[in-house]
Symmetry: C2
């Protein structure tokens, strides 16, 4: 109704629509490396927020941006805005408010989407017997981070291939909208598949079994040692894929939703009675968890991510 | 509809209502001093956002919080949350989403309010002949800052009296709502009366004359030298009062709105044809501007506030 420039923006969701709201803050050195190109940073800052809308099945409408910058550098700001506006335009998401201030490089975005009343995908809807699915592929972003850190050996061109997953994730908006009425629960994978799926299990009061050999990944992740491979796939973080559940009888509808959104979807497990996440291999043998977990460039077991 | 804990919160404004949205970021050393008590910081972080809702005439509904903290200190967090929740409860404003991360102390809040469609107070509605009003009193927050800095001499107890204005501003929510249908334009005074009023003048395509001798202030500000007094009153910043315009024939309605909201309102000038802000004394003589302007603890003329 009224965009940027007044004290407030005014939004009016269409009749019968709810407004979905999410907020994320990115801090330099924690959520992105100082080496990231400003344009990619602009992309990522909005992408990680859009990913939350995708996980609710919401259509993007608008966003607000609060930005702290150490100094006003036209080159940085232009490139940042270019990346930000490109993804915003692509998803019809309008900037409706902002605040720019001097300070350590920090980006805080609040994003708004709309979803028909009662149609939002929630974390709480998984039921025993449902199947567990994931979009796209997992682990590339974490692999790129480890290649930057030099902790993992890989072919010289692996960084070029995986870096984009870390720096320019693609929010699964189309898939989230196509899964309305199909998926029983959904979440986006920001902290690693295992931890994010556990949010669904806890909220839904169920357990889950994931076939780690079924997890979709790139050739670069597939070429890693078994421990690193599972670390990247299960605890990688920054994937921004959707992990979701659907009744077993809706598998065709799930595949149709993936096709409609031009997004690969892979069945990776099932929901069971009980609690907690169990990992199994293709033969159904229990798999022990690797020790590592996602750390957003930080020591692990940190309560603040 | 759905609060914190899922990927998104879901909001549903009542039929006929628009959702007013505003966002502000506070950075340590820039928007607050490291000496501020955590409880007051929690209050201020939401108060400055609620002040934007007040300027639109919106009723608070909900907010999201993104918080970067150097370390998880239970004492700090408890006190911060106490101050935040106290003001949130007082204005019936629910926390619906958040993100906590490690980083330099930075607080970013996005606030949501509702206002009947067409009733929002905008910056663009001032017309020649309207009168200019301001709520409460001006300049105490800037005086407190200068007392901290030691740049101004004042009685020993002046800091105790004025510090609250800087650290615990009161958003003028009740007044903003009471001014729906009465005020022709409004803005909240965050960067100083002169600069914020100029936003109204520019957006409305009009000029304004302010009687600097009519500006309401505390005894502490009244006791300052003329230059410091006008600096605090006109360029003080952090006042979080409302400056607004109303047709000359609505003066009684403005006074009634102030009485209904238990908020003093003072007529300080008038809107004229033309452009720009003119300052006059009680005899109508033009007043030269003091050189200083509000600086959010920074060098002046900084494009980022």
């Amino acid at each position: 109704v009224l965009g940027n420039g007044d004290d407030c923006a005014l939004l009016a969701p269409a009749p019968g629509m709810h407004l979905a709201v999410s907020t994320d803050m990115l801090v330099e050195g924690r959520h992105f490396l100082p080496t990231v190109a400003a344009e990619r940073l602009g992309h990522k800052a909005l992408a990680v927020n859009l990913s939350d809308l995708a996980a609710c099945g919401a259509r993007p409408l608008a966003y607000t941006l609060a930005l702290a910058l150490p100094r006003a550098e036209a080159g940085f700001l232009d490139a940042f805005a270019r990346g930000l506006h490109a993804i915003a335009d692509r998803f019809d998401c309008e900037l409706v408010g902002g605040d720019t201030t001097r300070g350590p490089l920090t980006i805080s975005i609040t994003v708004f989407g709309e979803v028909p009343a009662g149609a939002a995908l929630l974390r709480s809807g998984a039921r025993a017997g449902d199947e567990i699915w994931v979009s796209g592929s997992l682990g590339d972003a974490r692999l790129a981070l480890e290649l930057f850190r030099g902790t993992v050996a890989a072919p010289a061109d692996a960084l070029a291939r995986t870096r984009r997953a870390m720096e320019e994730p693609e929010p699964r908006i189309g898939l989230g909208m196509a899964l309305r009425g199909v998926a029983s629960s959904a979440i986006d994978v920001s902290d690693g598949l295992a931890g994010d799926l556990e949010h669904i299990l806890r909220r839904s009061g169920v357990g889950g079994v994931v076939d780690v050999d079924a997890l979709p990944c790139s050739g670069d992740v597939a070429a890693l040692s078994p421990v690193w491979q599972r670390t990247c796939l299960l605890f990688g973080g920054d994937d921004y894929e959707l992990v979701f559940t659907a009744p077993a009888g809706r598998a065709t509808a799930v595949l149709d939703a993936g096709a409609a959104a031009a997004t690969p979807v892979t069945r990776i497990g099932r929901i069971v009675d009980g609690a907690g996440l169990h990992l199994a291999d293709a033969e159904g043998r229990e798999v022990t968890r690797p020790a590592a977990s996602f750390d957003h460039f930080r020591e692990s077991a940190d309560p603040m991510s």
